[in-house]
């Protein structure tokens, strides 16, 4: 069995078809007719672009806009006047043939990118390699390896598959892809995912072990490749694949539905968002809104602070993209443990319990007000809910609300419109907040329970510390009682309490959260459908009736046993 990196999920079974790149060597010939050489180059470049643009259209239809643009970008490079200038310069000054001149220019850029430290940038050299061999092949009249003609049930095995090759891929014939090189973000990985062909990359020893025609199982979930599998292995993988397919189909059926428990209780289901790029995906699964939009990305990986304008643009985009659906945007939640060069955190012994999140913001009012101003300005573009992180006391909440009121006054003076009814909520992730939730609930419009941090602080165990990581368990009765405190506190003031930590997507925790009375769950985009499907099999009245009994259990293990025994049967696995 070979080990690689999973690049595209699924199980592919087929026969190995070896794809070897042809080495194209540029001849080094002195020429006398320079004009002719330039014309030859221009004609080859035009032919290249024609081919590529045709492929780009086809790719755009099957694979998608992004991949098609990459192919089109290759064409743009080949038709770039700057490139032609460099090629012609060599033809003129060295009296060399067009192939040599072009080869030299490509090598210059290939060398430029491979010498860079960043892995992502080195990948650009592969693009130039691809352009080089393809254009040289055209000029020299060499046929390139075409993937359209592989037999059905082929597993392609190659060092790498270039974008211009990948566009000729026929998905009905290719069961799987295995490459020696590459990462999850290589072109071939992106294309494999778009075409839903299982793929494993970075299989270093592939050429030692795999021969043409051998039967292979490509496990794109784990990154394993089985060579000449036994009948028993074949049967097992085929069953696994069938179960997965059935389950995926079933989940797709939940796309347009609303979220209800088995006995008809409506549960809110929203998506968590960390980057703007995933916005379009959110729209597909009929979520109730965005339950947690993390704003840290605006501050991280840069030396300067994000301006009010920059933040405003980002917040407005999210709000507009979600139409009138609620968007919960959490204010800056970072601390000394994160790499944020733009902010200045003092050296702390204990950053997890230090000046972070709301505490940092309340100590740096100017910074905080910039974010609040941007949020309020954006509030007229949609349904904004402002969420304050790591609240431990009512005083902190009141201070934050005072700042919000100040910002509103300033906007009034400047005549800048905002939504005065913007909802403000508190995260419940500290034990203090959970225990005194009834007091906090009187100050805000909603709660969002951060189960991961709440678990950490309640059990006083740092999950990144190997010595105690085993103690970290949201199912522990202590944590469950904390969550109950939070939800009961919310109920006293008739405000909603949502769960936004990892537990919200944990299929074993969900029945408990439902039983505790959570109004809604906010989960990662990839979990939305699975959570909706599970909720449809969870009986609210049952779990509501049993929750007090569960809270009397003494260990996390006992809770788990109870849940497992009463969990509605899993659809797959």
């Amino acid at each position: 069995m070979l080990k690689g990196s999973p690049a595209s999920v699924g199980i592919g079974i087929g026969k190995a078809v070896i794809i070897k790149q042809q080495q194209v060597v540029a001849p080094k010939m002195i020429v006398t007719n320079k004009e002719n050489e330039k014309n030859r180059f221009m004609r080859a470049a035009e032919y290249f672009c024609e081919q590529v643009m045709r492929a780009s259209d086809a790719v755009g239809r099957t694979i998608g806009e992004d991949e098609a643009t990459i192919i089109a970008a290759q064409s743009a490079i080949v038709s770039d006047p700057e490139l032609w200038d460099e090629v012609f310069e060599i033809i003129d000054s060295e009296s060399m043939c067009a192939e040599y001149a072009f080869d030299q220019v490509c090598e210059k850029y290939i060398h430029l990118f491979t010498s860079l430290e960043d892995e992502l940038m080195r990948a650009r050299s592969a693009d130039f390699q691809d352009i080089k061999s393809r254009l040289l092949s055209i000029m020299l009249g060499i046929k390139t390896v075409e993937l359209q003609n592989v037999p059905r049930g082929s597993v392609l095995v190659a060092d790498d598959i270039s974008p211009s090759q990948a566009v000729t891929l026929n998905p009905t014939k290719v069961s799987g892809i295995v490459t020696r090189m590459g990462t999850r973000f290589s072109h071939i990985a992106l294309i494999a995912r778009a075409l839903r062909i299982p793929a494993v990359v970075a299989v270093e020893d592939v050429w030692d072990k795999v021969e043409s025609g051998e039967k292979l199982i490509v496990d794109g979930d784990s990154g394993n490749v089985l060579i000449s599998p036994s009948d028993e292995q074949l049967v097992r993988y085929k069953q696994y694949r069938r179960r997965k397919r059935v389950h995926q189909q079933k989940l797709l059926g939940y796309r347009d539905r609303e979220t209800y428990t088995a006995d008809g209780r409506r549960i809110g289901l929203s998506a968590n968002l960390a980057l703007l790029g995933n916005l379009s995906i959110v729209a597909e699964d009929n979520v109730d809104g965005i339950g947690l939009f993390r704003t840290e990305f605006l501050y991280m990986g840069r030396n300067s602070l994000p301006s009010e304008e920059e933040q405003f643009t980002a917040y407005r985009r999210v709000l507009q993209a979600m139409g009138g659906k609620p968007v919960v945007i959490r204010t800056l939640d970072v601390g000394g443990d994160k790499q944020v060069p733009a902010l200045h955190f003092g050296k702390e012994e204990n950053p997890i319990m230090g000046e972070r999140a709301i505490r940092y913001c309340l100590n740096h009012e100017d910074l905080f007000k910039v974010q609040l101003t941007a949020l309020l300005r954006a509030s007229i573009y949609g349904n904004l809910m402002i969420l304050l992180p790591m609240i431990a006391t009512v005083s902190e909440l009141r201070k934050a609300k005072v700042l919000i009121a100040e910002v509103k006054k300033e906007l009034d003076i400047d005549g800048v419109p905002y939504n005065d009814d913007v909802q403000v909520g508190s995260m419940i992730e500290t034990p203090a907040a959970a225990i005194c939730a009834d007091a906090l609930a009187r100050e805000v419009d909603f709660f969002s329970v951060g189960t991961s941090d709440l678990t950490q602080y309640t059990l006083a165990a740092d999950r990144s510390n190997k010595a105690v990581a085993g103690m970290f368990n949201t199912m522990h009765p202590a944590v469950l009682r904390m969550i109950k405190c939070a939800i009961d506190g919310a109920r006293k003031s008739d405000i909603p309490a949502w769960i936004c930590g990892e537990a919200a997507a944990d299929l074993r925790m969900i029945p408990l959260l439902v039983g505790l009375g959570a109004e809604g769950l906010s989960v990662s985009i990839s979990s939305v459908l699975a959570v909706r499907e599970l909720l449809s099999r969870v009986d609210y009245s049952f779990w509501r009736g049993q929750i007090d009994r569960v809270l009397e259990l003494e260990t996390a293990a006992e809770v788990y046993t109870f849940v497992k025994a009463n969990l509605p049967q899993q659809a797959s696995q």
Binding site: A72, L83, Y109, F113, L275, G277, G301, N303
Partner: protein, 88 residues
């Protein structure tokens, strides 16, 4: 001449797609459009040159635009840098 600075967050500078998008948009203007870094000036209408600039995340880059439609071109460049290109 218009000049403005931008901080690049995502590694769009060395992705083919954003380089292509930027070059395409800048080609629509008459003005000369350049990305200016310590390492030199790079023609922002050329995919090749944008890539050759090897722009990394966190870089502060300057756009210099001069010509009859320089104002519109800078508006467009700003929009691309601050919004569209930051998409993954």
């Amino acid at each position: 001449m218009q000049s403005r600075q931008f901080t690049v967050r995502n590694p769009w500078g060395v992705h083919l797609r954003p380089a292509y998008v930027l070059a395409n948009h800048m080609r629509g203007f008459e003005s000369k459009t350049d990305i200016v870094l310590d390492s030199g000036r790079y023609n922002a209408k050329s995919v090749l040159k944008i890539l050759a600039a090897c722009i990394c995340p966190g870089n502060l880059i300057a756009m210099e635009i001069s010509g009859p439609d320089e104002k519109e071109a800078m508006e467009e460049a700003s929009r691309l840098f601050e919004v569209e290109l930051e998409e993954k």
